[in-house]
């Protein structure tokens, strides 16, 4: 029986996202920046995104030593491959068409849990394990990152805090008022989707473990326990939205900080320790560019109930495509990265704890960044695969439900060819229909379309009002299949109307959102394409925020406008510049619910 997680891994494998700080599942196109001299053998190294800059720099230094094995010169190349994607490709067979780059000799996902997943899946197919020989490059624990004043209000740094405190605060109708800060409103929690993100998976395991009151690997009985489920629901209900990368939360928090509202968007986010450092530099995406630090820094709470590490293993794969020269070179490169104290000291510069125990943990992992290098006190363990699959199923059933309007652009330009001989509208229809499986039955989903003058002067039409997917799925499917293109792009008034509709029926117990898919620029009547009133409208309701997740579709989408819409509603912009990727991108969008 294929595990649910592995099915989800396959989903991640085909996904395409846009990077992010921390060990998230977002897949990125392979991109080797190192050229291989013509007479040398390439030794491909695939690493998760948070390590690309570091490992690429070290690979260049290693290659400069002109390494040779058995008379063959070698060159290490570095590819950015999301952990889940790499795991799925290794388990299913690395594609030979080059779409994912050359098959790795050295593979470094964010966590050794991914190596276990690969071996487990191969074993199910009767194949030997390939990810067994590893050394850890660097470590980072999952933490609850919280604006310092909020953490202090809870007793940080003296008090031992954890998920139980989060539950108490999240469940209290007074919210932050219960600890003397009514001005901060309700407790709002940011956590990524465990199907897409290592951080999200670690946080979900940690919440279930805290609920079960156990630091031992979770069991099926614990996951099914009604008390555990109630605890999990209590924490999840405080979630602002989910998503595929922690970067969304950190960038939105920073933006609100820059607007002088540092405590508005989220009260706590489950991220890796390294992300706290990057945020406090004012550079959550870790671009290395000069930035202004936030006025209110984040501090790390190491949950008292225990947490998990991302241990960044480097596997020299025992795979059929790895010849002896490549194996030796990969092992030597790994030694260069892990055993050389100078190289391990550079790991610290990136905010990670060194994987070589001979290198002490020091700045920036210290109190100046709100971190405690002596923590965590207790490490949790990843459960057995069958339990992990049950945990994800349980999370999907008990996560915060959503109320979403899908607002689709059906303007004339959607009738243009998008690729594979199909129109952009046809590709979008397929993506919408496929995404319905990602919602849970209790989610309320509606369907709107927009172009221009669809109903009198009105540029939009409500085709299916939001309702439980159990009742709406059939109608949505039928309606989507019948959509045709035509007209202009009444982008702004349609967006405002959809958001207003969600606001009018706002449900505090749900994630309230609009998914906006558009392939063009607003070309409505004069006065209807001024964006500032829309942005002001989107950011005007602090208490009952409706998130707008725009998808910039094709080459001609108005990226700037859509990004502004996402930022004003504290959501995230997604891009499907190549229309044939819309299905994968839509899956990422729906990961927010």
């Amino acid at each position: 029986v294929r595990l649910r997680l592995l099915v989800l891994l396959a989903l991640v494998a085909s996904a395409c996202t846009f990077g992010g700080q921390g060990s998230d599942g977002g897949g990125l196109d392979p991109d080797a920046s190192i050229e291989v001299p013509g007479d040398c053998q390439e030794v491909p190294v695939h690493v998760s995104s948070e390590k690309v800059t570091l490992i690429t720099a070290l690979a260049e230094e290693f290659n400069a030593t002109n390494p040779e094995y058995d008379g063959t010169c070698v060159a290490v190349t570095v590819y950015r491959t999301a952990s889940g994607r790499g795991a799925a490709l290794l388990a299913e067979g690395w594609p030979e068409d080059g779409s994912a780059g050359p098959a790795p000799v050295l593979w470094s996902p964010a966590s050794s849990a991914w190596g276990a997943v690969v071996n487990e899946r191969l074993a199910q197919d009767g194949q030997p394990a390939i990810a067994t020989d590893f050394e850890r490059i660097m470590l980072t624990p999952l933490v609850l990152a919280m604006p310092r004043p909020m953490a202090e209000a809870l007793g940080w740094p003296e008090a031992e805090l954890g998920w139980a405190d989060i539950l108490e605060l999240a469940s209290n109708p007074e919210g932050w008022g219960s600890v003397g800060h009514p001005e901060w409103g309700a407790f709002r929690f940011g956590k990524t989707n465990p199907n897409f993100s290592t951080s999200g998976l670690s946080a979900t395991i940690a919440i279930y473990s805290a609920a079960a009151g156990s630091t031992a690997p979770l069991t099926l009985d614990q996951i099914a326990n009604p008390g555990v489920v109630e605890f999990v629901k209590g924490v999840e209900n405080a979630t602002v939205h989910y998503g595929d990368t922690t970067l969304t939360f950190l960038e939105n928090m920073l933006r609100e900080d820059q607007r002088g509202r540092p405590m508005r968007y989220a009260s706590a986010v489950a991220v890796e320790e390294v992300s706290v450092i990057a945020y406090n530099r004012g550079d959550p995406a870790d671009t290395g560019e000069a930035t202004t630090p936030p006025s209110v820094p984040l501090v790390a709470i190491y949950p008292k109930e225990g947490t998990l590490f991302s241990d960044n293993p480097a596997y020299v794969l025992d795979a059929p495509w790895v010849d002896e020269v490549a194996r030796q070179a990969a092992a030597e490169f790994r030694t260069f990265v892990v055993d050389d104290p100078e190289n391990q000291a550079r790991v610290l510069e990136f905010g990670f704890r060194p994987g070589n125990p001979a290198v002490a943990i020091g700045a920036p992992i210290d109190a100046s960044n709100g971190l405690d290098p002596t923590q965590p006190a207790t490490e949790l363990q990843v459960p057995e695969p069958a339990v992990l699959a049950a945990l994800i199923d349980s999370w999907e059933a008990n996560r915060k439900p959503a109320r979403v309007i899908m607002l689709l652009d059906v303007s004339g330009s959607m009738g243009e060819l998008g690729g594979e001989g199909r129109t952009k509208l046809d590709l979008a229809k397929e993506a919408v229909l496929a995404s319905l499986d990602q919602f849970k039955p209790e989610d309320e989903v509606g369907l709107w379309i927009f172009s221009t003058e669809l109903q009198g002067d009105q540029d939009y039409l409500e085709l299916v009002p939001p309702g439980p997917l159990t009742a709406n799925a059939g109608q949505i499917e039928q309606t989507v299949r019948g959509l045709v293109d035509g007209g202009g792009t009444g982008l702004y008034d349609s967006t405002a109307a959809a958001v207003q509709a969600v606001r009018e029926s706002f449900d505090q117990g749900r994630i309230n959102a609009v998914i906006l898919l558009s392939d063009g620029r607003c070309d409505d009547f004069e006065g209807q394409c001024e964006i500032d009133p829309l942005l002001e409208f989107l950011s005007s309701n602090e208490r009952d925020p409706v998130r707008v997740f725009p998808v910039a579709y094709g080459d001609d989408a108005d990226l700037d406008a859509l990004r502004a819409i996402a930022e004003s509603s504290q959501a995230r912009l997604y891009q499907a510049t190549d229309p044939t990727t819309i299905r994968q991108v839509f899956e990422q969008v729906v990961s927010n619910f």
Partner: protein
């Protein structure tokens, strides 16, 4: 085989070379050559004793590499590894040994001593499994008692560590308390230091593997303490090598200079420590005989059943 080699060590004086077919023979035209060690001969050691071998290699003027059990023996090299992990049919010379010890973070010392009638031994560990530190006179935020062991199916040191604990377990379940499980004694200690007391409070492993991480633990604001069983298994490290010049290198592994290098790194030379072992290593307990084949089979099957 191990017993015979130990016998050779005990009976021998100075050099403990045993020569197998195909090895160099002393005398004749090679005498002059054998007075010096070829610089292209490599000393290949398992990772847990790599620091000791580095010291020895520096003394002898040869290169040193790490060797993994199951790997081929290099042509121009001498392999030093646990006797039980050397290739079948080899005739090793025991050059060093290391007792199996119980190692734990210093913060855990007082609670353990209080909870275990002053003696941190296998029975103490078995009794702590499955309990919270709050029940063991420790701090509540330490969570449960967390044990670390190397995989007993993966090598001699791990099997012997399991042989120390297993008789004390009774019917106790180990799986819940076994929070750190590594592929070798070296990686066990590395993980203990890397993850700190969040992953393991206490491990059972070779004294030399523990010694290899003392300084690293200190640099990470932790200190490791060692408790010696009054009697228990010791890992014997044998040297093998069949190429030209290897016999001379094996002979020199019993020299005083090498013995001092071994001792300084926490590896006990076969003839006994030459100088002071690094702090806080001390006097070890009595060595029990290595398990026979039947006992080894039983140990592996209990490991697989109980963990």
């Amino acid at each position: 085989l191990a017993g015979l080699v130990v016998g050779a060590v005990i009976l021998g004086v100075g050099f403990f070379v045993t020569r197998g077919p195909g090895q160099d023979t002393p005398g004749g035209s090679t005498t002059t050559t054998e007075a010096e060690i070829d610089s292209d001969v490599t000393l290949a050691c398992v990772e847990a004793i790599a620091p000791a071998c580095k010291g020895a290699a520096a003394v002898l003027g040869v290169a040193m590499t790490t060797w993994a059990p199951g790997s081929p023996v290099p042509e121009r090299g001498v392999v030093v590894a646990p006797v039980g992990d050397l290739p079948d049919g080899s005739s090793p010379t025991v050059v060093a040994e290391s007792p199996i010890v119980i190692a734990f973070w210093r913060t855990r010392l007082d609670p353990l001593v209080l909870s275990c009638d002053e003696s941190v031994d296998a029975a103490c560990v078995a009794g702590a499994l499955g309990r919270q530190w709050s029940e063991l006179n420790g701090a509540a935020d330490w969570g449960p008692f967390k044990l670390g062991l190397a995989d007993a199916t993966a090598g001699e040191p791990a099997l012997l560590a399991w042989s120390l604990l297993q008789p004390a377990l009774g019917s106790a379940d180990v799986a819940g308390g076994l929070r750190l499980r590594s592929g070798s004694d070296a990686s066990l200690m590395k993980d203990m230091v890397l993850f700190g007391d969040s992953r393991a409070d206490l491990v059972i492993t070779t004294e030399v593997a523990v010694a290899g991480q003392f300084e690293n633990a200190l640099s990470r604001d932790g200190r490791i303490e060692v408790s010696y069983p009054s009697q228990g298994p010791w890992v014997e490290y044998g040297a093998i090598g069949e190429g030209r010049g290897n016999g001379r290198l094996i002979e020199e592994l019993a020299s005083q200079a090498v013995a001092e290098a071994f001792t300084a790194a926490g590896l006990r030379p076969a003839a006994g420590p030459a100088g002071e072992l690094p702090e806080p290593l001390g006097e070890a307990g009595t060595k029990t005989p290595p398990p026979d084949d039947a006992t080894r089979g039983t140990l592996i099957s209990t490991w697989e059943d109980r963990t």
